[in-house]
Symmetry: none
Subunit: 225 residues, 2 copies
Amino acid sequence: MNKAEILIIDDEPQIRKLLQINLESNGYKVWQAENGLEGITMAANHPPELILLDIGLPDKSGHEVLKELRMWYGKAIIILSVLDNEDDVVQALDNGATDYLTKPFRTAELLARIRASIRRNETTELRSKDEFDDLSIDYAARVILKNNEPVKLTATEFNLLALFTRNEGRVLTHRYLLKEIWGVGYQMETQYLRVFVSALRKKIEDNANRPKHLITESGVGYRFV
Amino acid sequence: MNKAEILIIDDEPQIRKLLQINLESNGYKVWQAENGLEGITMAANHPPELILLDIGLPDKSGHEVLKELRMWYGKAIIILSVLDNEDDVVQALDNGATDYLTKPFRTAELLARIRASIRRNETTELRSKDEFDDLSIDYAARVILKNNEPVKLTATEFNLLALFTRNEGRVLTHRYLLKEIWGVGYQMETQYLRVFVSALRKKIEDNANRPKHLITESGVGYRFV
DNA sequence: GCGCATTTTTCCAGGATTTTAAAACGCGGT
DNA sequence: ACCGCGTTTTAAAATCCTGGAAAAATGCGC
């Protein structure tokens, strides 16, 4: 088998070095980033088979990085952390981490967990970019182009649109959209959706009164076409 | 969503009880087996969404059970063990275990790892669709195609049609249809059905006067063919 | 603390869907 | 051919849902 590529995102050079030696001697190709932003960029330019992510990064919390990666990166992300806090573990796993290991970790176990994660990769495939007619969306860079012109969206607007484009053609119910963007507990706040869908239509539709992308399914939800 | 089913294979009754209480209070349906053989049989007769497997079983070593299960069982298997032996972890993961937790485990973490594992199960599942002659229905996307052209249905119309297609060939009584779509208390409102069946026929039949899909069973109900 | 961008609330008009009511139809029996 | 009965169709009224505008609250960077 040819070398699987692994990206390490960790601010401690010693840890990176240690991981690099272990991984390379087991036939992996290793890339390194020393903070979250760099890691996201590298992953976007050259998506690896697996990401090892330290949760205690200097620029962004590892949880933030994890969430951003998970918007478009479908393969394995293993969290490494000095924290053995149960809340962190739960939060990371619920944000889409594949596994969570506490430092110091046992090398053979880490390698086995890496093998297990890569083995299960094949099924999931997410794109980091999408094109729809006059729209293009880059999930990693969080950039939208309409007729090749950049469109400025707020954070919530982008998240909502990304959720739609990831589910092209499907009806997404009000409950589902609210749960995904605002979290459980907001599932009754349908007025939020109206406001934000309306804002999105103004920005991405040729004619917001006659939307061709964001279609309302009365009584159910919305659909992106 | 309906309850995911989890099978516990563990010889210690206290552990099974503890797991059962935790899992059931989190909305899972729990099955139990007290040894490897029984576990394999139960999993074969009624494949669960996830298996919790103790590695220290009396009849076979848990590693054996794991290998046998993996010959045909594709979904998540989480290993629970009192052993914190690195070799056991590595062996289990390399034999196809989804995860490995050491007893005593933290409950919230176990639940999070279960959620993560079940989530991965789902992504590999196919989208539920049905095809009937000139009609195709995608339940998740809420899309109907007639001769490959999308047909616009209102929420109630779609729900009603989906109920019919899920029960192809069967006569559904007026009472049953009304209960499923409008709820108990509407079982006398046969008018509603007549109005909506008529609307559906206009949209999905070639000739609404001579329906080939939505057949009237006079005095009883309707049948989808 | 101030100013700006964004998110959360509120309100109401207009639109779409569901409900209600009534008329038209089809079919078997006489 | 006519009647009766259940079904289908139509169209109105009632209800519910959505979109727009804009004020209030919040968060964020300086």
